[in-house]
Amino acid sequence: MKRRKFLSSLTNLTLLIISGSVVKTTLRGAVETYLTDTAGAKKRFTMGIQTQKCIGCGRCVTACKTENNVPEEPFYFRTWVEHYVVKKDDSVIVHSINGGSGEISENIKEHDVLRSFFVPKLCNHCENPPCVQVCPVGATFKTEDGIVLVDEDRCIGCSYCLQACPYGARYIRPATHIADKCTLCYHRIKKGLNPVCVEVCPTQARVFGDLESGASPLVRLKRMKNTHVLKPALNTEPKVFYTDLDGAVK
C-alpha cells in the first residue's frame, strides 16, 4: 500500500512538471503570435552582396563592431571580408586580416596572380537554419520576417549552434557567455533604417531589402543578376545571396 502511495506521488510530481512545461511553452507561443500579428504585413528581409563591387575596405566590419558592441579583438565578428587570390597554378589563398579591416601582408608576386577579389560574409539567415534546429532551449529562433536571432535571456551558452553553423557566423560573447551573430541590425531595420554595414559601404556592394516587396532594389538585383548562395548542398537555404560569386568561395 505504501509503495502504491509512493508511486502515486511520483506520478503526480511528473505530471506537475510536464503540465508546467506545456503551460510555459503555450504562453510563450501566444505572446510570439501576438507580437508578430501586430507587426503588420509579412516581410522577408535579407541582403544581397555584389562581390564584384566590394573593394575590401573593411568599413562594414568596423562599423558593425561599433554599432553592435562586438568585441574589438580579432576573434569575434558578426561580419567579415575575405580576400581571395587565385593564382595561375589554380591554388587559392584566402585572408581575412582582422576580419578584413586589417592590411594584407601576404607576400604574393603579382605575376603569379590570376584573379583577386573580396567577399563579405555574415550570417546567411537560412530558411532551414541548423542553429535553430540544434538549440536545446529555443534561444536561437527565426522571426516571422525571416531573421535568425538569439534571445540573450534564454541562451545557456552551450555552443551547439556554433558547431552546427556551416558558415562560422557565430561566436560566444566573452563578457556574457552568450552566442552572438549578425541580426541584420534588427534594431535599425525595425525603424526603417538600413543595417549599418549597408549604410557605410562606399560602393553599395551590400544591398538590403524585403524580398516580399516588389519595389525593393534587392528584388531587382535578384531579377537582373545571376545569384548564388553559400554551400547550397547542405540544404540550409541561405537567404543572403551573392552575385557573380566565384567558385573558389566556400
Partner: protein, 403 residues
Amino acid sequence: MSADFERLAAILKQVTGYIYPNEIEIHWSILIVVYPYITGLVAGAFILASLVKVFNVKEVLPTYRLSLLTALSFLIVAPLPLLFHLGHPWRSFEIFLTPNLSSAMAMFAFVYAWYLMVVLLLEIWFEYRTDMIAWAGALKFPSNLFYRIISLFSSDTSEKATYFDKKAIKAITVIGIPSAFILHGYVGFIFGSVKANPWWSSVLMPIVFLFSAIVSGIALILLLYMVITPSRGEQLDMKCLDRLASLLLYAMIVAFSLEGLDFLHRLYESEESIKILSDMVINRLFISLVVMQILFGMVVPLGILMLVKLARFNDELRKLLYFVSAILIQIGIFSTRWNVVFGGQMFSKSFRGLTAYKLEILGVEGLLTALFLLVLPFLILALLLKVLPPWGKIINQDASVAS
C-alpha cells in the same frame, strides 16, 4: 578576460591556412571529451550487467552488482561536465521546461532522467531490496533508519515478494538494454547529426559510440573487479575474468571493424573535406589518433587478448595481460572521445585551414576540473560500495550481517 584574449592570440599564431575568423577559439573543451567518455562507461557497465540477467551469462555474475553500482556512480557525474561547460549553468533547467524538441541536446535531459529513474535506480532498488530489509533489521540506529528509508519502508521478504523482485529486475533489464543503447547512441547522434561538420557527420557515429562504450564499460568493470577483489582478501574468479576478457575481445572486434569501415568509407568517397581532414590527422591528431587511439588503444590490446585466447598462459600471466589490456583500452577510448571532439573543431568549415587547442591547467574548463570529474565517480562508487556492498555484507562498527 584579457587572459582569454592572450590565449587566443597565442592560438592565432598556430593557425595554418585560412579559417573563418570566429573559428580560432575551440568551444567544446576537454569537459566535452569527459562527457561522452563517462556516459560510455555507464552504458557499457549496464550492458555487461544485463548479460547476467537477460542472456544468463553466469560466469560474470560476480561483477553484476558491481556493474550496476559503477553505472550509477558514473551516471550521477555524467551531466556535471556539461553543466560546468555551460556559459549559464543556472539556466540549464530551461532544457526541462521549454525544450526545443528538434534539438538532440535537449533530449539529453529526458534520456538521462529516464535512464536514472526508470532503469538504474529501480533495478538497484529491486536487486538490493531484501538486503536492505535485512540490514535495517540487524543494524543499530541510525544505520537501521537509513536502510529503512532507502528501502522505502518495504518489509516484505516473503517468497512471493522476492519472486516479484526477480521478475521486476528482468523486466527492467529488458527495458534497460535499449535504454543504454539510446543513452550512448544518442550521444553519438549529438555529433553525428551535425551536417556542417564532415568529421562528425556520419550515420555510423551512434553505433561506433555504442560499441566503444561497451568496450570501455567491460574494461572498466574488469579493472575494478581485479582491484577490489584482492583488496578484500578474496581470490579472483578466473572463469569470470576469462569470460570478461572474451566479451571484451568480441566487442573490440566489432568496434574496430566499425571504425575501420568508417575510415575506409571516408577515404574511398574522398569528398571535398578529405584534404583538410588528412592534413588535420597528420599535423594535429597524429599522437592522439594514430598512436594513442589506434595503436595503443586498439591494436595492442586486441593483439594481447587474441594471444591469450590462442595460447595457454598461466593464471598470473593472464591476470597481468588482462589488466594491462584494460588500462590501454581506457586510454584508447578516452583518446577516441578526444579525437572526435577536437577533430571536429580543429579544421575550418572553409576546409582551408586548421586551428589548435591549448589545454588549460586551471580554470573551469581546464585539466584539473577534468581530472576531478574523472575521479569523482570512483569516490561515489567507494561510498556506494560501503552503503550497498555487492557482496551482501555490511562491515560496520555496529554489526556484521550476512544476507
